[in-house]
């Protein structure tokens, strides 16, 4: 018998998401993800001074905070003809690199980990490690006071959940430590960024923060604490879970997509415009040995199942005008369906580490004979992704120290450039694309300037790729595809459904649709990011 289950809201993600899954014989066979909020940020920037746009679009999302501002800067810099100077590039990498580490730690421990453990197992901890005893005492005190919010209530733990008291207590201890660590990631970033979330010092053409050596030292001290946690706690936790208690979940291919992966590439290693920490590339059909080159011109948006007016053929985001079609019968989502060479692509850490052929990760895949990576490998990939960033951040911090040494320190007659002031004024006409990697995946902003004002603005965000609806060929979006086949033995506790969704780290404020709640006719009016 087919049953429809609805999870509304899906918590521990960014934004508002409702998911409907049809289950037959304990297995999901149809799925729809529905986001429910929009603000119209894209319209807000129309007619504005282009230099305001990074500030406004950065506020698309307070979790990914920063990367939108960066992508926006990249697009506008192309339109202005601006070139970010060397020190500006390094500073951007450092600010956003620290945020990257913050983001992945936050996602693993605070947004995802609770799906894989039974937190009440802490109460049965019998060991004598003082930190863990303290965790047990704390949880016990809260439990005795009948106030374990927000840790409880929770779905009933299933067979895949880790219930071993020793392991769970350690993970809860790490959860609490990670709360501090993610805050410290933001703190490190804020040294150059002004504040976090929503930095203020990245502007069109570069950055505004002229660093001092003292600040660099302060940054290194704080970020080292975060990096230490990533190396010695996060990585072991993620890999231990992936290859130990959660291996059966991975072996069951829970959460695997069709196997098409895309990375735009991000974090420039020099000024050449071709050398990136995360290379761009494309993988089709889980063929990990053949990485295809990425060509931005091959991106097309389809709207066959989205509430937009059909266009004669799929178009490139930079040239599309979005026209809403409220009465479109076959529409079920406000997210458009971006496709690359006609395929739905998964973006994010898994795509990135596969495309960069990360050695640690590829060995993991080989040793455990993983052919179609799913939920668990997505978490492992995110950890490995953080590790790659941790190494790079250390390198950039040294690079910055060296640059300051070569060009003179703050206050002296140094000649370090952090901003392209010659191209600060908006051009009369211009266009640009900002393609970048956000922690959640490939992120693109496109701008057209006319009369020194914003004439057109478009964003295709990672969650648009991952949470896209079906296309004309009947291909589902990656999250929908991943949900198909998920075991849902208990309709009241659809743990695998939320596990799969959260493994993509979706950001719904970025990618938006609208719903038709019962009893009220709700019609979509405008597209929004």
């Amino acid at each position: 018998m087919a049953n429809k289950i609805v999870v509304d809201p899906v918590t521990r993600i960014e934004g508002h998401l409702k998911v409907e899954v049809t289950v037959e014989n304990g297995v999901a066979f149809d799925a729809r993800c529905i986001g429910t909020m929009f603000r119209g940020l894209e319209q807000i920037v129309l007619g504005k001074d282009p230099r305001d746009v990074p500030y406004v679009t950065e506020r698309v999302c307070g979790v990914c905070a920063g990367v939108h501002g960066w992508a926006s800067c990249l697009a506008i810099e192309e339109a202005h003809g601006a070139t970010v100077p060397e020190m500006g590039r390094v500073l951007r990498n450092l600010m956003m690199g620290a945020m990257w580490l913050h983001d992945h730690v936050l996602h693993f421990y605070h947004l995802a980990a609770l799906d894989y453990i039974d937190p009440t197992a802490v109460l049965n901890y019998q060991g004598s490690v003082s930190e863990l005893v303290a965790v047990k005492d704390k949880i016990k005190a809260l439990a005795d006071a009948g106030d374990l919010y927000p840790v409880l209530p929770s779905y009933k733990p299933d067979d895949f959940c880790v219930k071993d008291p020793e392991l769970v207590t350690e993970l809860v201890y790490h959860y609490l430590r990670a709360l501090e660590i993610q805050a410290k990631g933001r703190k490190a970033s804020a040294i150059f960024a002004g504040k976090q979330p929503h930095h203020s010092s990245m502007v069109v053409g570069g950055v505004t923060c002229y660093p001092t050596l003292g600040q660099v030292q302060q940054f290194i001290r704080i970020i080292n604490e975060v990096i230490d946690f990533v190396r010695n706690v996060y990585i072991p936790d993620a890999l231990l879970l992936a290859t130990g208690p959660l291996l059966p979940l991975e072996k069951a291919s829970v959460g695997a997509t069709a196997g098409h992966y895309l990375s735009y590439g991000g974090y420039p290693l020099d000024g050449s415009g071709t050398n990136y920490l995360f290379p761009s590339g494309v993988i089709f059909d889980n063929d990990f040995d053949h990485i295809q080159p990425f060509n931005p011109a091959e991106i097309r948006e389809q709207v066959d199942f989205s509430w937009y007016k059909n266009e004669p053929r799929p178009g490139h985001p930079s040239e599309r005008e979005t026209v809403v079609d409220l009465d479109k019968k076959e529409g079920y989502s406000f997210v458009k369906a971006p496709r690359y060479q006609g395929k739905p692509m998964e973006v994010g850490p898994l795509a990135r580490v596969l495309i960069m052929k990360n050695e640690t990760f590829m060995r993991l895949m080989r040793e455990y004979n993983i052919k179609r990576p799913g939920v668990v490998m997505r978490h492992a990939a995110r950890a490995v992704d953080a590790l790659a960033m941790a190494a790079a951040v250390t390198k950039w911090a040294n690079e910055l120290t060296q640059l300051i040494g070569e060009t003179g320190v703050y206050g002296s007659a140094g000649n370090a450039l952090i901003h392209d002031t010659d191209h600060w004024e908006p051009p009369f006409e211009g266009a640009g694309a900002g393609l970048n990697e956000a922690p959640r995946g490939a992120l693109g902003h496109w701008i057209r300037i006319s009369g020194k004002k914003v004439k057109q603005y478009q964003m295709v965000v990672p969650t648009t790729w991952n949470a896209s609806p079906q296309d004309k060929q009947g291909q589902r979006g990656p999250i929908e595809e991943a949900l198909i086949g998920a075991p849902v033995p208990d309709l009241d506790n659809p743990l695998n459904i939320v596990r799969i969704i959260r493994s993509f780290d979706p950001c719904l404020a970025c990618a938006i649709h609208i719903i038709h709640p019962k009893g009220k006719k709700f019609v979509p009016l405008y597209p929004v990011f």
């Binding site: 698309v60 979790v63 605070h110 929770s154 805050a183 979330p197 010092s201 206050g411 709700f522």
Partner: protein, 369 residues
């Protein structure tokens, strides 16, 4: 006094039994009292009030047209740490970013708390009024949720500029409004900012827990201690450069790196906030320290009526005006002037800048083209 001490001692003991570390807590209470402009003696009062309560105050945190940035900002707090805020300071019954539960379980936690009453409601994100369809959360239009959840709340906290005044969404077409335009008959405190600074929220919470009422508010319903008593400009580390008429015009020039940011579009002279007194992210920096002009994010006029953000409010050719104005302004505090919806009691020099901004808005003065 002895009584008070012994009550507090019992309270702290109780807290420790509940797993709350007493030393951190007392330290934090004292710091917050001072930040709120109170004698540090009140720190003890704060601790006492929070500790003698049998149960932690329930909090419902709902999100509308927002970006989760304010939730994240609270999680970026390091003093108190995010763990203390989440587990020790309050009983977080509903916050979709951190709560374990999802779907019907999470909704039940929300409904049970509303039924129980006696909670604080925190709203993050604006409320669309042009059409409820712009924000549907958990099956209901967001304005209905706000009204429903505020019904049994002791007080409502509008967290961040979107919830306080509409923020950036107000510049759009959804008719985005702040909480106080929707909710009536309940005390509402605005803690604006894009995002809010975690100290502002934690301090307001502690004050409420201690005195069972909201702290003194300014005319825009912001806690006076953090907002109403000083402009960003008043405590600006670059203020002396303003007075000398030295303005940063090129971010690359190390010789001018500390100079006034007015010509880069700084809204510090018309913005109330303590950012320059108490920096962000555990005190490492703030926008102006990082060389970027204040965007006025704590003002009701933000963002729509403060745009463009990076353009000098001083008309070209008359840029020297600011210098004599600044010199005359020393020691002079006069009258008030309105920028948009109204900023009260501004020193003379600020009036001048506000005036220029206002004229610019009306298109009277130069617009750059």
């Amino acid at each position: 006094m002895k009584d008070r001490d012994s009550i507090m001692e019992t309270g702290l003991l109780k807290m420790e039994l509940k797993g709350i570390p007493r030393r951190t807590f007392i330290k934090y209470c004292a710091a917050t009292a001072v930040a709120l402009g109170l004698d540090y003696y009140f720190g003890g009062l704060f601790a006492e009030a929070a500790t003698t309560a049998l149960n932690k105050k329930p909090v419902i945190w709902i999100q509308g047209q927002g970006c989760t940035g304010c939730s994240c900002s609270l999680l970026s707090s390091l003093n108190p740490g995010p763990g203390e805020v989440l587990l020790d300071l309050v009983s977080m019954r509903f916050n979709s970013t951190v709560m374990n539960a999802a779907g019907h379980l999470s909704i039940k936690a929300l409904e049970d708390t509303v039924k129980e009453g006696g909670y604080l409601l925190v709203v993050e994100g604006s409320i669309p009024t042009r059409d409820p369809r712009y924000c549907v959360v958990e099956g209901l239009p967001f304005d209905e949720i706000v009204l429903k959840a505020s019904k049994n709340a002791d007080a409502v906290i509008a967290a961040g500029s979107c919830a306080a005044y509409g923020g950036i969404p107000r510049a759009g077409f959804t008719g985005a409004k702040g909480v106080s335009e929707i909710v009536s008959g309940k005390p509402v405190v605005n803690i604006p900012g894009c995002p809010l600074k975690p100290d502002w929220l934690a301090g307001t919470l502690l004050y409420y827990l201690s005195f069972n009422e909201l702290p003194p508010l300014d005319s825009d319903n912001r806690p006076l201690a953090y907002f109403g008593s000083h402009f960003v400009h008043d405590t600006c580390p670059r203020a002396s450069y303003f007075e000398r008429g030295q303005f940063l015009e090129d971010w690359n020039n190390p010789a001018t790196v500390d100079w006034c940011l007015l010509k880069m579009g700084c809204k510090g002279p018309v913005t109330y906030a303590d950012c320059n007194r108490i920096w962000w992210n555990d005190g490492v920096s703030t926008c102006i320290r990082a060389g970027s002009p204040c965007a006025g994010c704590t003002q009701p006029q933000f963002y729509k009526d403060l745009a463009p953000l990076y353009v000098s409010p001083l008309p070209p050719g008359r840029e020297d005006e600011a210098m004599p104005v600044a010199q005359r302004a020393r020691g002079i505090h006069a009258g008030s002037v309105a920028l948009g919806a109204g900023i009260a009691a501004a020193p003379f020099v600020i009036n001048k800048v506000a005036d220029l901004l206002k004229k610019k808005k009306e298109g009277v003065s130069h617009d750059g083209e």
